[in-house]
C-alpha cells in the first residue's frame, strides 16, 4: 500500500520537493550575509536590510512560500486523492484488491499527511532560521515601520514562522481529502479546498488566535511624549469630533489587539469630542505653521493630564509567541484528525 501511495504521488511530490530545494538554496545563499549585516550594522540593520532589494525580496518570498505551501498541498495532494480515483473509476480497481478501502485511505492519509508536515516544517524551519536576525532586531525595538519590521507574533508573519505551518499543512491536506470525498470531482474539490483554507487563514488571526492565550493589558499614561496624534472627523474646533487618541505602544515585538482611552477610575472615556476638538489639525490643504500647531497640542496634552487619561492596550507580548504557536498547532492537528475521521467514515459510503 505504501508503494502504491508513493507511486501515485511521485510526480506531485517531486514538483514540490524541487521548488523547496530551489528556495532552500536561495535562503542558504543569502542567510549568512544577512546575519553578517546584522552584526555589522547593529542598530541600523533593519533599515539597511529593508533598503537591500535582495534581502527584502528574499524575506517576502520566504514568508509567501510558507503561507502558500499548505494551500498548495491541500489543493494538489489532498483534493485529488480520492476525487481523481472517483472520476477515473479507478477506485473500483483500488478498493477491490485485498485491502479494505478504510486501510487504503488511512495509509494514504498517514503517509502523505506526514510528508506534507515534514515538507512544510522544513520550509518553515529554513525561513525561521533565515529571518532570525530580523526577528531579533524587531524584538529589540529597532523597528522602523517598514516591511521587515512586523513582529513575529503579529498576524501573517505568525503563520509563516515556527511550528504553526506544520499544523496548517496537516489541516489543509485533510481538508483537501475531505472535500474530494464530499464533492467527488477533482477541480471543484480543489476550488473548495482553496476557498475554505484561505477563509480559515484569514479568520483564525482575526477571531480565534487573540483568545487562545489570555491577552495582556497595559495602561500607558497619556502625556505629551507618548501622545502621537488623534483620529477624528468633522471640522476642527466646535462641531469636530475626536474618535480616538493615538498613543505610543511601547512593547516591541508585541501584537496590539485593541486600545482605548480610560480615565483614572478605569472607565472608558466617551466625552473626547467636547474637550479635544480643538486639537485636530486645521486642514490637510493648509497645514498650520509649527508654532500654531504646537500651541493647541500642548493645551490638549495639558487637558489630558488634568483628566488623568491613560491609554489601555490589550495585546499579546512577544513572550506569548510560543504558547500561541503551540496551542494553534495543536488546534489544527485536532481539526485535521477530525477531518480524517470524517473521511474514513464517509469513504465507506462511496460507490
Amino acid at each position: 500500500m505504501s508503494w502504491l501511495t508513493w507511486r501515485q504521488l511521485r510526480l506531485q511530490a517531486a514538483t514540490i520537493l524541487g521548488a523547496l530545494l530551489v528556495l532552500a538554496v536561495g535562503l542558504a545563499a543569502t542567510g549568512p550575509r544577512l546575519a553578517q549585516l546584522s552584526s555589522a550594522a547593529a542598530e541600523d540593520f533593519l533599515n539597511q536590510a529593508t533598503n537591500d532589494r535582495a534581502d527584502s525580496w528574499a524575506y517576502l518570498v520566504g514568508v509567501l512560500a510558507v503561507l502558500a505551501l499548505p494551500a498548495i498541498i491541500g489543493v494538489f495532494w489532498g483534493a485529488p486523492l480520492v476525487a481523481r480515483e472517483l472520476e477515473a473509476g479507478t477506485h473500483h480497481l483500488a478498493w477491490n484488491q485485498g485491502v479494505t478501502r478504510t486501510r487504503w485511505l488511512v495509509t494514504k492519509l498517514g503517509l502523505i499527511g506526514l510528508g506534507a508536515m515534514v515538507a512544510t516544517g522544513a520550509l518553515s524551519l529554513a525561513v525561521t532560521w533565515w529571518c532570525a536576525p530580523i526577528d531579533r532586531a524587531v524584538a529589540a525595538g529597532e523597528g522602523n515601520g517598514g516591511l521587515l519590521t512586523q513582529a513575529r507574533v503579529t498576524p501573517v508573519i505568525f503563520d509563516a514562522r515556527g511550528v504553526v505551518p506544520i499544523g496548517y499543512a496537516a489541516f489543509a491536506f485533510a481538508l483537501g481529502v475531505t472535500a474530494g470525498i464530499l464533492v467527488r470531482r477533482t477541480v471543484p474539490a480543489m476550488a473548495v479546498t482553496l476557498g475554505v483554507f484561505i477563509a480559515v487563514q484569514i479568520a483564525v488571526p482575526l477571531l480565534v488566535r487573540p483568545h487562545l492565550v489570555a491577552p495582556s493589558r497595559t495602561d500607558v499614561a497619556i502625556t505629551e511624549s507618548t501622545l502621537q496624534g488623534f483620529r477624528g472627523s468633522g471640522p476642527p474646533g466646535p462641531g469636530g469630533h475626536v474618535d480616538g487618541l493615538l498613543v505610543e505602544f511601547d512593547r516591541p515585538g508585541g501584537w496590539r489587539l485593541a486600545a482605548r482611552t480610560v480615565d483614572a477610575d478605569g472607565h472608558d472615556v466617551r466625552s473626547l469630542s467636547s474637550s479635544l476638538a480643538d486639537c485636530l489639525p486645521t486642514s490637510v490643504e493648509a497645514p498650520p505653521s509649527p508654532a500654531a500647531a504646537t500651541d493647541p497640542r500642548q493645551a490638549c496634552a495639558a487637558a489630558l493630564a488634568a483628566g488623568d487619561y491613560r491609554q489601555r492596550f490589550t495585546y499579546h507580548p512577544a513572550s506569548h509567541y510560543w504558547p500561541l504557536q503551540g496551542i494553534e498547532t495543536a488546534m489544527f492537528f485536532a481539526v485535521a484528525l477530525g477531518l480524517a475521521g470524517l473521511s474514513c467514515w464517509r469513504i465507506r459510503r462511496l460507490s
Binding site: 484488491q97 485485498g98 479494505t100
Partner: protein
C-alpha cells in the same frame, strides 16, 4: 458449500428511484453466470452491491457466504472488474502487476506475468497507451492473478470490437477452466454471453425477470403454433409469456414444466436470444411490483 450469490428482497434506491427492487436470487457455486438486461436495468447496481461497493437500501445479499465489503477476507475471495475496465492511465503495465502483488495476499505472480507475456503486452508501456481490448485484458489479468474464488465482471466486453470480444471471452473461459473460478458477468447482449455462461439472470426494469440454469430454461420454454385460441383457455401449468394472433393462427411463447402433448399445437424450441427477448419485452405485472412502485411514489 455456500451459494455463490444469495439475495433476499434486495433493493437499492437512488434519489427516490429504485435502481434495483425486490431482487431475490439463488446462484449455486461453481457457475459462470450471465447477467443480462437492457441499459439501466440495474445490472451494475446488483454487481456493485455484490462486491460491497454500495450498500443495499433494503434486503440482504451474501456472496460466497459472506457479506460483501465486510473486510479483507471477503475482498480476497471476490475479484471485480468494473464497467469500462478502469486502470491507472499513468501507471505502466508492470506497475499494475506490482500493485496487485502489493495489495493482494494471494497474488499469483507467475500467472500474471505469464498472461501479460501471452497477451503480448509490453510491461513498460503506460496503461493509458493501451487499446480498449488490451486494457480490458490488463484489468482481467489483475482480477485473475488475485486468485479469487469468484470473479465479477461488469460489461467486460461492451467497449470491445467483435474480434476482441471473442478473444477476451475465450481467454476468460480458459482461466475459468484452469483455476476453477466462478464468474458473474453482465452484458446487455445475450449473444456475448451465450457461449460462456451456464447460468442466466435476466434483469428488466430494475427487477429479476427470470433466473436459472440455461439448459433448464431452454427445456422449459417453448414456442407453440396452432389454431387461433384464447390463451385463457390453455391448460393449467402453462405460463404464457407472449402471444400473437393472426386470423386463424396463434403463436405463443410459454413456460411450462410439463411436456406439451396436445396434438393441436406444434412446439418448437426457443433459442436463448428469443427467450431473453421475450422476457425483456414483457411488462412487470406481478402484484408485488405494483405494490413496490406505489410505495415509492
Amino acid at each position: 458449500m455456500s451459494a455463490l450469490l444469495q439475495a433476499r428482497g434486495l433493493g437499492k434506491r437512488y434519489r427516490g428511484r429504485w435502481a434495483l427492487a425486490n431482487c431475490t436470487l439463488d446462484v449455486p457455486a461453481g457457475r459462470v453466470v450471465g447477467l443480462v438486461g437492457p441499459n439501466g436495468a440495474g445490472k451494475s447496481t446488483l454487481l456493485t452491491m455484490a462486491v460491497g461497493s454500495i450498500t443495499p437500501t433494503v434486503g440482504t445479499i451474501e456472496v460466497l457466504g459472506g457479506r460483501p465489503g465486510s473486510g479483507a477476507a471477503q475482498l480476497a475471495k471476490v475479484g471485480f472488474v468494473a464497467q469500462g475496465s478502469p486502470v491507472y492511465t499513468s501507471l505502466s503495465v508492470a506497475d499494475h502487476l506490482r500493485l496487485g502483488a502489493r495489495l493482494n495476499p494471494g497474488w499469483d505472480d507467475a500467472v500474471a506475468r505469464d498472461r501479460i507475456a501471452r497477451l503480448g503486452l509490453d510491461p513498460a508501456l503506460r496503461a493509458g497507451a493501451l487499446s480498449g481490448g488490451q486494457r480490458a485484458q490488463l484489468a482481467l489479468t489483475l482480477g485473475i492473478a488475485k486468485r479469487p474464488k469468484l470473479l465479477i465482471l461488469d460489461e467486460p466486453v461492451a467497449s470491445l470490437d467483435p474480434l476482441a470480444r471473442r478473444e477476451f471471452l475465450q481467454d476468460l473461459m480458459e482461466a475459468v477452466a484452469e483455476h476453477g473460478l466462478s464468474v458473474v458477468m453482465s452484458s446487455h447482449l445475450i449473444s456475448d454471453l451465450e457461449r460462456a455462461c451456464d447460468h442466466l439472470v435476466v434483469l428488466v426494469a430494475s427487477r429479476v425477470a427470470i433466473a436459472g440454469e440455461i439448459e433448464q430454461l431452454l427445456a422449459t420454454h417453448h414456442r407453440l403454433t396452432g389454431p387461433r385460441c384464447d390463451p385463457a383457455d390453455l391448460p393449467a401449468g402453462l405460463e404464457v409469456l407472449s402471444a400473437s394472433h393472426t386470423e386463424r393462427q396463434s403463436t405463443l411463447v410459454v413456460r411450462t414444466e410439463v411436456p406439451i402433448r396436445d396434438p393441436a399445437w406444434t412446439a418448437t424450441p426457443l433459442n436463448l436470444e428469443d427467450l431473453v427477448l421475450t422476457h425483456m419485452s414483457r411488462r412487470p405485472t406481478e402484484p408485488d411490483a405494483r405494490h413496490q412502485l406505489a410505495a415509492v411514489r
